[in-house]
Amino acid sequence: MIKVPFAWMRLRGLIEKEFIQLKRDRMTFAMLIGIPFMQLMLFGYAINADPKQLPTAIVRGDDSQFVRTFLKSLENTGYFKFTVETRDYDEAAALMKSGAVQYIVTIPEDFTRLLVRGERPQILLEVDATDPIASSGAMSAALQVVNRALDHDLKGVMAANGARAPPVELVMHRKFNPENLTHYNTVPGLIGVILTMTLVMITSLSLARERERGTLENLYAMPLKPSEVMLGKIIPFVAGAAIQVTIVLAAARILFEIPMFGSFLLLSAALVLFIVVNLAIGFTFSTIATTQLQAMQMSMFFFLPSILLSGFVFPFLGMPQWAQVFGSMLPMTYFLRIIRGIMLKGAEFPEIWPHIWPLLVILAAATFVAMKRYKATLD
């Protein structure tokens, strides 16, 4: 027989109690349902940013003085940081799908030959446009480079050519969001924002509220296990969160016409994991906070970096190193990559796994702290 660390009857009692309270507490219920609507309205437009030094993959089919000069000038614009160089286009494409690179620059095999003949070879610049703001500056900079970079090198060789048009043609593809719509980026991220904000807050208040009302003393005086109390506070809100998610996903579909390229099942599974992680963090806060006010403050301290440093407001790869380190500790960071990956890029499990396991680590850490902190005493 499998030994579970809790008693079903007690757990059931705790969950039912929480549901009844939720049903009769209009304020909490309103928050659960009202906040998604409010956020959807408020985040209609996003904050602008012009990130530099984003990771770029080079698919180099050809090499010559001209290619080197062109790439050097591209790098000098400050927008591109060449992190990967390959001959295999598929490799670069996979990196973009998983979010490891923002741009792919492809130099065709016959580039130099065509250039010398004056036949205007094409250079392909592909942009991950799920976050359109991240790449608008880079795209116009790349155009400038094409127009001028090769002027000097070409003077000696083909001064006589006298071509008016730029010697190279830049072809730009916006991948995953061809129409460059900001809400493609914002709305899936908004699901993460809403869940983080409401779930952490509600659970972090839960024990503090029982403490302030005096019901905690009765709860602690009964023979409960910490795991039962924690699960009893978490499970009811998974259901609440499911309602929120349905609202926002429906709005994403109907109001904003966001596409859904990936598997709905995979997305649901990832959502449940993300919801549980947030609830566990909220519960952990509530084992630390002694008053509802403290619990609120802790939630806010968690919520702000979750918005600012996760890649929701500012593109993650464009943030300074220290901010990326902070961001890497937030569940929201991974969730954004997962949901954008699944909804906009049709990513499958192997591609999102690198963002799933950090969530599991965070969940384990939060549970560990909560179980350590939970003492069932009023001290």
């Binding site: 009857m9 009692g13 009769r24 005096g214 019901t215 023979p223 409960l224 001290d379």
Partner: protein, 316 residues
């Protein structure tokens, strides 16, 4: 596991101490409560009753002290203790937004009770609340809340009940009914520790402990306490007692002046000084003086006034 002494104690602790922010709330309390008795834990507000009870069931970790509750160590085995006691908190601690029935079902599940539906049904019938079982607990009056709280903590048939000021703020009739209920429980073999700041409730307990400023000042039956006390009490009857009480208060040797309806109890430990102060009044024909045994209340008031002046003297 069971205590080796011949008498069986449901509670047997000594040296229990607890400070909050450096201030001693409970200071070296020693308590022995026999199995099956109703033990009154008496003391004014802020004397440390709640803190002591919380330490007995593991809700607060004592700074010092040791002992057992139902044979289990109060420090290390509080999980076991919690299963077998019923604790009624001073403040109503059931859920206001749950109905009476939902609260009882919740508590029953926490103790993993069998045949819960039936048991809750019986409990509701016993409380005469079957009709109102769908009423939110928060809307009940004080007396009903107390009865519901008591019912919820005896459903799982605990061996020991810790009741923290169960009758505070309840009208006299309901108080009386409450005490009858407590005695009915004790008759069934349940040990009951009940704290109160109503001195008149002392008479309804088998044995008593009197706590003041975190210290246990007396321990035993009411008769023991009266016998052991060095207090001398004079009962005054007659006319103009209210005026007399005012005149007597504060005179040398007179520690307490307490009115009991048409009687006045005048007490002090220093008998010669007490007699000297009373002498002028004993000449009045309208008053009748008689030396009596002090009542428990006289003793408690004596404790209180004595302790206060002792503390004041020590203060810089």
């Amino acid at each position: 596991m069971t205590p080796s002494c011949p008498e069986k104690f449901a509670i047997n602790v000594k040296g229990l101490s607890k400070s909050f922010d450096g201030k001693k709330a409970v200071d070296g309390i020693e308590l022995r409560v026999r199995e099956g008795e109703v033990f009154g834990f008496i003391g004014p507000n802020g004397s440390g009753k709640t803190t002591t009870i919380r330490m007995l069931c593991g809700l607060l970790v004592p700074d010092a002290g040791e002992g057992t509750c139902l044979g289990y160590d109060v420090i290390n085995e509080s999980a076991e203790i919690r299963k077998q006691i019923g604790y009624m908190t001073q403040k109503f601690s059931l859920y206001d937004e749950l109905t009476i029935e939902e609260n009882l079902l919740f508590v029953g599940r926490m103790y993993q009770m069998k045949d819960l539906k039936e048991k809750v049904g019986e409990t509701l019938a016993g409380l005469a609340l079957t009709e109102r079982r769908r009423q939110l607990a928060g809307t009940l009056s004080g007396g009903w809340k107390q009865r519901l709280a008591l019912a919820s903590c005896i459903m799982h048939e605990p061996k020991l009940l810790l009741l923290d000021e169960p009758t505070a703020g309840v009208d006299p009739k309901a108080r009386r009914a409450f005490w009858d209920e407590i005695h009915a429980l004790a008759a069934n073999g349940i040990t009951v520790l009940v704290s109160t700041h109503y001195m008149d409730e002392a008479e309804r307990c088998h044995r008593l402990g009197y706590i003041l400023k975190g210290k246990l000042l007396a321990h035993g039956t009411g008769a023991d306490m009266i016998e052991r006390s060095d207090l001398k009490t004079w009962r005054v009857t007659g006319r103009g007692l209210t005026g007399l009480a005012k005149k007597l208060t504060g005179l040398k040797g007179i520690e307490t002046v307490a009115a009991f309806g048409a009687r006045l109890h005048v007490s002090g430990a220093d008998e010669p000084a007490l007699l000297k102060s009373l002498a002028p009044f004993r000449k009045e024909k309208s008053l009748h003086f008689e030396k009596v045994a002090p009542s428990l209340e006289d003793i408690f008031i004596h404790f209180m006034s004595g302790q206060e002046s002792a503390v004041e003297e020590r203060a810089p």
